[in-house]
């Protein structure tokens, strides 16, 4: 299950480069993203802050999105953590950040719905 999701999300990213209309299916989007986070966490080396401390925070926020207990501030925080992954030391954090940027942009409605 989880590997499929990783592959699907990576595929989504590659497709997005060609066509910026591609997006994740709205159903189960947060459950799928949480799986993706879990897969990423196995690769984290623990050296730089944006990735080591950022990814667990992103996970926490995604759980809240899944529950529906979020406000606008938390959406902004999520965005800032995701953007901050661009300053990671290696590609584990940077790639995760890039993918999350795409998801945030192309599935923004799914995130924003939870806030409204």
């Amino acid at each position: 299950m989880s590997k499929e999701i990783v592959l699907r999300i990576q595929e989504l990213y590659e497709n997005w480069i060609k066509d910026d209309m591609t997006s994740l299916g709205s159903a189960d989007i947060f459950a799928n993203l949480l799986e993706y986070v879990k897969e990423t966490q196995k690769d984290i080396c623990g050296k730089c802050i944006p990735c080591r401390d950022g990814v667990p925070q992103i996970e926490k926020l995604l759980t809240k999105f899944e529950d529906g207990s979020v406000d606008k501030g938390q959406l902004l925080t999520l965005e800032s953590y995701v953007q901050n992954l661009r300053s990671s030391k290696c590609s584990v954090g940077i790639d995760f950040g890039k993918t999350m940027e795409v998801v945030l942009r192309n599935n923004f409605n799914d995130f924003y719905k939870k806030v409204r």
Binding site: Q41, D43, I44, C45, G46, K47, C48, I49, P50, R52, D53, G54, V55, P56, Q57, T77, S80, Y81, Q83, N84, R86, S87, S88, K89, I94
Partner: protein, 591 residues
């Protein structure tokens, strides 16, 4: 040469430099957290990130080498936002109890960064420690609730102390930890307590074990007669927490320091410098004895407890070389408690409480050594570092800068210039040579300024000199070693066995006590540690040349009086009981 554009300005820089180097040379400030020049340029903390045009990701300034025509922005909104987010993430894993933190005096680099980047508490509350325990030790401790995983202590322990106690343990990438051997206190993990890590820690994670509380308790106790002494190197830096520049002449602050100690409530102010002179008599006599009777040579000095711990743990096969003389402050404690108190003050030694002000964290460990007592009387009861003294003075609202000068009148605060220079690398040797030469040759040295023994510049931290004694017919080879690198190198030379030394001075910290682990913190990017050591040492040498009546230990009237009345002669049976000690191999486990 390469041309690049930094914040809109065109500048020239040398190839191979990092963005951080270029920026600092051109007066552009880039904040850093984990960075330590030439030691820890690892790009872990991502606080120094900058934006390079054409790169989609932000890059760390400390480990990115410049390229031709690079366009760098160090303060774009994106960079500032990233720094703020990174700091907020770190703050989530840091326990904020700044008001009781040893670095709550404004020297916390992490606190200052949070302030500079306006990180508000709603961004990180509830802030909880990454790990919730403290690694104990008798000299230093590590509070894991405050660690920001910058790895500075790891690199300093590997490169400066060379004890390699700390490890960055990242088996679990989501929850790494920097610690000595898991489950063991510093005492059993190979630490020498030099305290160099406490000076580079950007937070209050690593700090000296607090003795302020027990000192305050003793001062409050009406039954206790509390005596205080301060080390030679303390006077080279005591003014720094109060705004005096590094290298302030001893004369400007010494009197204020005595007065501050009196105001703090100590019953008797004495000076370790007295015992430094005494140490020269004991150690010098031991050296002469070993030369004349064919004892074990070279003789190693034993004033630096960090060094003593190093040899006890790592090179126990050389223990016979170590001088049996105690370190000066232990001698002072033994003399004051066992002779001065009962014989002159008529106070039971049990009611005397001895406090040492030291530039050193290893001295805190040293007083807990089981050998350091006679007949149930501990030599010294508490050790405050120079930093702790600064904190204590500030806490008591004493206006240090405007204090009048005070000079204690008792015998145990009188000293010669030879004692003052103990605080600098080479000082113990210079003081010893001044006395040993005169004892053996019967006439004083031509010049008392042995400049070849001074300074801290040499790369491998070893200085050498040969002293010719024409009447005795002996060429004495001496060496001066400071810092872990020097110690390692010297043992390599000794293992080879090609060079014949007679007398070697060892100091655990690079630059000697003036750069000790308990001295006020000077940030690395403000001044290099060797420059700090050189400036503080120059204050001590200046005092030796100008301030004191005598410059040779054996001329100290107090020391002569002590031998006449209490110890008969240097190296006598009674002197051995109180002023000498013994050493043994110490076990440790590193993982």
């Amino acid at each position: 040469m390469a041309k690049l554009i930094l914040n809109g300005k065109s500048i020239k820089a040398q190839n191979g430099q990092t963005i951080l180097q270029v920026a600092r040379e051109n007066g552009v400030e880039i904040p850093t957290l984990c960075f330590l020049k030439e030691m820890n340029e690892i790009g872990f903390c991502r606080v120094c990130v900058v934006e390079v045009e054409g790169e989609k990701d932000l890059v760390a300034a400390c480990d990115t080498v410049i390229k031709k025509k690079m366009v760098v922005h160090t303060d774009s909104p994106r960079v500032l936002e990233s720094r703020q987010a990174t700091l907020a993430l770190l703050a989530k894993k840091h326990r904020f109890n700044c008001w009781v933190c040893p670095r709550g005096d404004g020297s916390c680099e992490f606190y200052n960064l949070l302030k500079d980047y306006s990180v508000d508490s709603f961004q990180f509350d509830p802030a909880e420690g990454r790990h919730d325990f403290v690694v104990e030790g008798t000299g230093i401790y590590q509070d894991q609730t405050k660690c920001v995983l910058c790895k500075r202590c790891v690199s300093v322990c590997n490169n400066v102390a060379t004890a390699k106690v700390f490890k960055f343990r990242d088996e679990d990438g989501n929850n790494p930890i920097v610690s000595p051997t898991p489950g063991l206190p510093f005492d059993e993990a190979g630490c020498i307590f030099c305290g160099q890590c406490t000076k580079v820690c950007p937070t209050g994670t690593l700090a000296e074990v607090d003795h302020i509380e027990r000192v305050e308790e003793a001062i409050r106790d009406p039954k206790k007669f509390v005596m205080v002494q301060m080390a030679p190197a303390v006077r080279s830096a005591v003014g720094e927490p109060f705004g005096y520049p590094v290298g302030t002449p001893v004369k400007e602050v010494e009197g204020k320091m005595y007065e501050a100690l009196r105001l703090l409530g100590f019953d008797e102010v004495t000076d370790t410098n007295y015992a430094a002179d005494l140490t020269i008599m004991e150690e010098g006599t031991e050296f002469i004895g070993r030369v004349q009777n064919g004892g074990v040579l070279p003789l190693f000095t034993s004033c630096s407890p960090g060094w003593v711990r190093y040899i006890e743990q790592y090179r126990p096969e050389y223990l016979a070389h170590l001088s049996t003389a105690k370190s000066p402050h232990m001698m002072q404690g033994a003399v004051l408690k066992n002779f001065y108190a009962p014989k002159i003050k008529e106070i039971d030694p049990k009611d005397v409480y001895m406090v040492s002000i030291m530039p050193c964290t290893a001295k805190k460990y040293e007083i807990s050594r089981p050998e350091m007592e006679q007949d149930g009387i501990r030599d010294v009861d508490a050790v405050l570092t120079t930093r702790e003294l600064g904190r204590l003075i500030k806490k008591n609202n004493i206006d240090f800068v405007n204090l009048p000068d005070y000079k204690p009148e008792n015998k145990f605060a009188q000293y010669t210039g030879a004692a003052t220079i103990f605080g600098a690398s080479g000082g113990v040797m210079e003081a010893a040579v001044r006395t040993v030469y005169e004892v053996l040759e019967g006439e004083p040295l031509g010049s008392l300024d042995l400049t070849m023994m001074r300074g801290v510049g040499s790369e491998d931290q070893i200085k050498e000199a040969t002293l010719t004694l024409p009447k005795t017919g002996l060429d004495v080879n001496v060496a001066i070693v400071h810092g872990g690198k020097g110690i390692k190198r010297m043992f390599e030379i000794l293992d080879e066995g090609k060079k014949q030394y007679h007398f070697i001075e060892f100091m655990g910290c690079p630059g000697g006590c003036v750069n000790g682990g308990g001295q006020p913190i000077v940030k690395d990017d403000v001044m290099d540690k060797f420059e700090v050591a050189a400036l503080r040492a120059s204050a001590l040498y200046g005092s030796d040349a100008k301030d004191t009546e005598y410059r040779r230990s054996h001329l100290s009237e107090s020391v002569q009086w002590t031998y006449e009345n209490w110890f008969e002669s240097a190296g006598s049976h009674i002197a051995h009981k109180y002023l000498h000690t013994n050493y043994s191999q110490k076990k440790f486990r590193k993982e």
